[in-house]
Symmetry: C2
Subunit: 130 residues, 2 copies
């Protein structure tokens, strides 16, 4: 039904839940939509929920890494949440260790991590000014 993956704004963060098979077109669209959403909302973090995915192949792995890099350039941190244990095993077996991508067990923990990172950043700045 959806040709686009919805991007939900939650306070300072954006949440993307991937539920469907992503073909090339949709993955590109998601990258575009996400970058505009980060710009529009000044989001400081992106939560990428993949709990619905039973399999992550090299295409999806690359897309996750790309989203994380692009968001990083726009000053938004990405945390991948809800990865199934079997998916983690497959990723390692495929040699895809998602370098530079942060992960957390679930949305709650992912959000805690984003908040901590942002607070940490703010404290640093305060420290410099003092």
């Amino acid at each position: 039904m959806a040709e686009r993956i919805p991007i939900l704004k939650m306070g300072e963060f954006l949440l993307v839940t991937i539920q469907v098979d992503l073909h090339d077109q949709m993955a590109m669209q998601l990258q575009e939509d996400l970058t505009s959403a980060i710009e529009r909302t000044s989001a400081k973090g992106v939560l990428l929920d993949i709990s619905a995915l039973e399999m992550v192949d090299s295409f999806i792995g690359r897309m996750i890494a790309n989203i994380s890099s692009i968001s990083g350039i726009l000053d938004a941190r990405t945390v991948v949440v809800g990865m199934r244990p079997q998916v983690a095993i497959t990723l390692v077996e495929l040699g895809l260790s998602l370098p530079g991508v942060e992960t957390a067990l679930d949305v709650d923990r992912g959000m805690d991590r984003l908040r901590a990172a942002i607070e940490g950043g703010r404290l640093d700045v305060v420290g410099c000014q003092g």
Copy 2:
């Protein structure tokens, strides 16, 4: 890819994003999964995001009303968020006004509404004790 719709726990609330065509089986599964999730997490509210849906027919309309009623019995408030304007028009034209279902424009506002409702409830209790 997913035969189940993921239910994400965010603090005291649960978030369900509907992105795919829901056939009977999946809708039943969602109702079951959601009730177990409410019980397991003691969630006080459910956010049902339908921003990806371009069309809501009477089947989906009924499912939304059911989820709202069942959650209500389990003491969790349901707020439907992200409804597209066209969907709202269609619902009214179909005579489906979703009685008893709360709506909000987006996740942020839906969450504000849930928080306000919960805080309101707590204040009432504090009032009774004093």
